[in-house]
């Protein structure tokens, strides 16, 4: 590690907590949200520095991009003023302050004492061939710890079902307060977005990438299309949307349960078809995750107080 690397790391590692502090201390919520997006981009750099390209991809697409878009959208509903607040007493603030300082210092001390570089890299490498996936992270996600991923998708679908409190209001081709340019942009970018998503998905078997990264890119493109009023936002009242929503988890469960019929374990892919099955799961998950991420986006609030937003029920 050169001195320049060290300086870069120290600056980056200092900027992140400072940004967190500014996010939480800033007077108005709009600045908090903008700084939050900035933190997402900065931390993507940190992931790259820590040799975690998958996480850098996801952080840039989801942490900064999608979550940022969700937050900005939330601001347009709530307003950049305080929104709903819960008053906090001075005693609570002092007490919490003391506790979290202890946690932070204790944690930092504990972590830097973990100098022994132990891990499971060797075990993963040794069994990579048995897992029928060439890229270690994908092997962990879909084979060694595929069960975690299955439950994680259940979390995602649960949150999607709960987050659909409003039916999105905007209509394709309706009045556009902005300009035709976003629509043109959306049309130009859509093929590129699909291409990039497909590329990320295809790459996932052998290099950084995979279902979630691909889905995040697709969802980003979808949000752009919704904002540009090219695409009608998905609603739960459509059976096609619901089918797409459940397809990924349903297929994952089917593949997980199939080995049980032959007396094998849950999620023990038969080795003859493991590769194909894993790819099929990735494709199905990409579809479902992108729909879920798009559904997290509630769309624009209707202008004026009187406008009613129907709830998205099905």
């Amino acid at each position: 590690m050169t001195a320049l690397d060290l300086v870069f790391d120290v600056v980056l590692a200092t900027v992140m907590p400072v940004l967190v502090w500014r996010i939480l201390a800033s007077k108005d919520l709009a600045s908090s949200v903008v700084l939050f997006v900035a933190l997402g981009l900065v931390s993507a750099l940190a992931w790259a520095r820590l040799h975690a390209p998958d996480i850098a991809l996801v952080e840039a697409a989801v942490g900064a991009g999608l979550t940022g878009a969700l937050l900005m959208n939330a601001l347009s509903w709530i307003g950049a003023e305080a929104g709903v607040t819960e008053p906090v007493s001075r005693a609570t603030r002092v007490g919490v302050g003391i506790l979290v300082t202890a946690v932070g210092v204790g944690l930092a001390v504990a972590v830097i004492h973990l100098t022994q570089p132990v891990g499971l890299a060797h075990e993963v490498d040794a069994r990579l061939a048995d897992a029928h996936v060439d890229y270690p992270v994908t092997a962990v996600l879909l084979s060694f710890r595929g069960y975690d991923t299955l439950l994680e998708i259940a979390v995602l679908v649960t949150a999607a079902l709960g987050a659909r409190l409003y039916a999105p209001g905007s209509v394709p081709g309706g009045d556009d307060p902005l300009s035709p340019h976003p629509r043109v942009l959306a049309r130009v970018l859509t093929p590129i977005v699909v291409l990039v998503a497909g590329y990320l998905l295809w790459r996932g078997a052998s290099a950084p990438g995979g279902a979630f990264q691909a889905a995040a890119v697709l969802a980003g493109g979808g949000i752009l299309l919704v904002l540009a009023r090219v695409l009608r936002p998905p609603r739960m009242s459509s059976i096609a949307v619901r089918a797409a929503l459940v397809a990924g988890l349903a297929w994952f469960i089917a593949v997980a349960a199939l080995p049980l019929a032959t007396g094998a374990q849950l999620l023990e892919y038969p080795s003859a078809s493991a590769k194909q099955l894993i790819i099929s799961i990735e494709v199905a998950l990409t579809l479902s995750i992108s729909i879920v991420l798009l559904m997290f986006f509630p769309g624009e609030p209707a202008p004026g107080e009187a406008a009613r937003h129907p709830e998205d029920r099905w």
Binding site: P177, L178, S179, H181, P182, V184, L185, V188, L189, I192
Partner: protein
Amino acid sequence: MTVIDVLATALWVVGAVFFVAGTVGLLRFPDVYTRLHALTKPDNVGLGFIVSGLAIQSSELAVALKVIAVWVLLLVVNAVSCQVIARATWNRGIRPWSRR
């Protein structure tokens, strides 16, 4: 250090200068429109220099094409987002700053 490395580093430095200038503009300019200008134009040029540096340094053509694609996409997105923000600002009735 080869000649290409030196050239690439020089391009990065030039690019960084544009970014710094843009950031100073963002902080110092008086209104949304001028700040937008400071934010997008120097970034486009600065990234162009940085991408050129990366492209000439890359070992494969595919990598070089990818970084150039990144730049082209950023040009399109920057142009549109700048325009959208400016128009939204205008529609809110905020008029450009002028030295009276």
